[in-house]
């Protein structure tokens, strides 16, 4: 299966808009998660206060990330965990593949982890003859289909029940059924066989507590608990930004994350794992390995605007709230992280030259900022990245010497500035526009500009390629007021 890339976002989005099956699959997303989130939010005393607190904790951590990382490693090592530092995706994959090979395992069970998606760990394992089994139901479905996740929390949200039923008929050979319970039970039966046999389990991490060396993983299905307690070796892969300073800080994050992600007060399970078991005859794995991965994250610390990206707790609320995501789904973004947060993280992870269209994949409506549990100002980040694309001025980067402002652009902005600077010039501008627009208004609207007009006014061409431009009214409200309305 051919995966989409971020470089072709504009085309991907157009294709997705025409995909009626996709729209059917996404139809419940905003209502379902959006409404549940509102109800869950109301069950805490001070939601705004919690968001502020969470962001303050994250900011404090990020400003001293070196210190807290070392504290986390030190405490987890004392508790028996082994640490592996990975500068980039390749190094992280190599570490995990080596660990699995050294244990002679040919198959591993995995619980859902965006970090392992980001580094394409499954490809690396398969290339070395190791079979990775995704055990989260949604992840398993897309693994069977040979696809990638289209949502951070519900990876198979783009698939309809019918498509999943067909997939199970084709790949597993069960009788066709649209009964979600039967489909779920089938997954349980097949994956249990894998859990019983697996020698290595690979998970992600939601939070790493510096004070105690604890990792915490949230879930609803129980596959994380299976993955981290049945196999003899547990490997956890985490980004360096997952650290929080104190055990007590878990309180705010455990209140915010489930409510924002799935509208639950708490997900069904939380596993808090501190190192490895004390005695060999206790239950649980003999070894716990933690892979700490940078992969472009430390760079994001170099400016307060980009640093916000590292506060993200991967709840997916911005995806559910985004009018763009709701229409096109996750695959169109062509990156591991979709939606508003993906549009800001991806360019920073894979380089802006490979994802130039993503910072524009937004109408800047601000719905994402509104719902973000850690108050990431995503529109601010989008604008920052746009500025980086056009000027190369942001983030301490050097001014892009290639970039020269076009004469026509400077002139346009000068005229615009003049027109808005006084009531007189504004009135003059409107009058001029009223006359000039006669050239392009057809049937009372400004439709697709083509040929000469599009060349003369490039922004008009770009705007009207997909929608009508507004027409200046024959009379302004003020003029109307003076002549007609006032006397009534």
């Amino acid at each position: 299966m051919q995966h989409l890339t971020a470089e072709t976002f504009d085309q991907n989005a157009r294709d997705a808009l025409g995909d009626l099956v996709l729209h059917g699959a996404l139809r419940n997303l905003a209502d379902n998660f959006g409404e549940r989130r509102k109800v869950a939010m109301a069950s805490v005393d001070d939601w705004e206060g919690l968001r502020e607190k969470a962001r303050a904790v994250k900011e404090e951590t990020l400003l001293h990330l070196d210190k807290y990382l070392l504290q986390f490693v030190d405490n987890a090592e004392k508790a028996g965990a082994k640490f592996h530092w990975a500068r980039d995706a390749k190094e992280a994959c190599r570490i995990v593949v080596d660990l699995v090979n050294e244990r002679g395992a040919k198959m591993v069970v995995k619980s859902k982890s965006m970090a392992t998606e980001e580094i394409h760990l499954n490809d690396a394992l398969e290339a070395d003859g190791i079979e990775p089994i995704e055990t989260d139901l949604g992840e398993w479905i897309i693994q069977l289909a040979g696809e990638t996740p289209s949502h951070i929390v519900v990876p198979a949200i783009h698939k309809t029940k019918g498509q999943i039923a067909d997939l199970f008929v084709e790949k597993i050979g069960i009788e066709k059924t649209n009964d979600v319970d039967v489909l779920t039970k089938t997954a349980r039966r097949i994956l249990r066989e894998r859990f019983a046999k697996a020698e290595v389990g690979i998970s992600g991490v939601n939070f790493g507590v510096a004070e105690t060396g604890t990792i915490l993983i949230l879930e609803n299905e129980g596959n994380v608990r299976m993955t981290t307690s049945l196999p003899r070796t547990h490997i956890a892969v985490m980004g360096i930004e997952k650290i929080i300073p104190r055990f007590a800080d878990l309180d705010v994050f455990l209140k915010l994350l489930p409510r924002s992600g799935t509208g639950q007060r708490l997900t069904a399970y939380q596993s808090l794992i501190t190192g490895v078991k004390k005695n060999s005859d206790n239950e649980g794995p003999d070894e716990v390995h933690i892979v700490l991965m940078d992969n472009g994250r430390s760079r994001m610390l170099s400016h307060p605007v980009t640093r916000q990206s590292l506060a993200c707790i991967r709840c997916g609320a911005c995806l559910n709230a985004c009018p763009v995501y709701q229409q096109i789904g996750g695959h169109a973004y062509g990156s591991v992280y979709p939606g508003p947060i993906g549009a800001v993280i991806t360019p920073q992870l894979i380089g802006i030259s490979k994802s130039k269209q993503l910072p524009y994949a937004s109408s800047l409506c601000g719905a994402c900022r509104e719902v973000c549990p850690v108050k990431i100002d995503i529109p601010e980040l989008l604008l920052h990245l746009r500025a980086e694309i056009t000027d190369g001025i942001a983030g301490g980067a050097k001014r892009n010497p290639q970039r020269k402002k076009k004469f026509s652009e400077s002139l346009a902005f000068k005229l615009y500035g003049y027109a808005w600077s006084s009531q007189f010039s504004y009135g003059l501008g409107i009058k001029a526009a009223r006359v000039m627009q006669k050239l392009i208004v057809r049937d009372g609207k400004i439709g697709k500009a083509s040929g000469f007009m599009a060349k003369l006014l490039p922004p008009l061409g770009a705007w009207t390629a997909w929608r009508d431009a507004p027409v200046v009214a024959a009379k302004s409200f003020r003029e109307e007021w003076r002549t007609n309305l006032k006397s009534e």
């Binding site: 206060g49 400003l63 530092w85 979600v180 299905e221 129980g222 069904a268 501190t274 649980g284 307060p304």
Partner: protein, 227 residues
């Protein structure tokens, strides 16, 4: 870890730390200006909750556990708890029952007749058990959550692998809030702490709720009031 592996690991660690410190230094001149517009750190305006009675805590716990589909019964003493255990075994026609190493659970299952009660079951045996019985060290009333600590009870697989999980706990381990529980568990931190709120669930297919995907499909909690 071989020697080269260890030195590679150290090199990676040092490079990452250098990168973090370098980036933070670059950011410094911008930080103060940004702080002016984005100051975070407002003090929480949470209500101060009055101390709740054990009865209120039990009621809150029950209400919240039931709101996520858990089954909660309150009994007066251990004898009644044992009767409820038998009822569940009968209802699901359990033949093999896995129990944790909790003394309370052992006492309540000692007298079971015609049932295989297995303590410290191995992985393979657990997959054939119909019921897992554990206790819990703490419970959170505001969310209906069970809190199990590995140092106090060997609970990880018994509460997870069998299709039905039954948990017996004393009323006096219930606290109202998550923050109280974090404080209590941090004092003598177990290697593994498991929070359990309801049965295993998923909404991965068209956001339709399905119960019992990997973990138990049923969760029964017996609260022993002991008054």
């Amino acid at each position: 870890m071989t020697e080269t592996r260890a030195s590679e690991n150290n090199a990676a660690r040092d490079a990452i730390l250098v990168s973090i410190r370098g980036s933070l230094a670059v950011s410094k001149p911008f930080d103060a200006e940004h702080q002016k517009h984005h100051a975070h750190g407002v003090i929480l305006q949470g209500k101060v909750h009055r101390e709740l009675s054990t009865k209120e805590l039990v009621d809150n716990f029950k209400t919240n556990l039931e709101s996520v589909g858990g089954i909660c019964v309150i009994v007066a003493n251990e004898g009644e708890a044992a009767i409820y255990v038998e009822t569940v075994i009968e209802k699901i026609a359990a033949k093999n029952v896995a129990i944790s190493d909790s003394d309370l659970v052992y006492r309540l299952t000692e007298t079971l007749d015609g049932i295989d009660v297995i303590q410290n079951a191995t992985k393979d045996i657990l997959f054939d058990c119909d019921l897992g019985i554990t206790s819990a060290q703490w419970a959170i009333a505001e969310t209906g959550t069970l809190v199990l600590e590995s140092e106090a009870e060997s609970h990880r697989l018994t509460s997870l692998v069998p299709p039905v999980h039954l948990c017996i706990l004393k009323a006096d381990v219930i606290r109202q809030t998550l923050s109280e529980i974090l404080e209590l568990t941090s004092k003598n931190l177990s290697k593994t702490i498991t929070f359990i709120t309801g049965a295993s669930r998923t909404s991965d297919i068209e956001l339709t709720l399905a119960i019992g995907v990997h973990g138990p499909r049923e969760l029964h909690v017996v609260v022993v009031a002991d008054q």
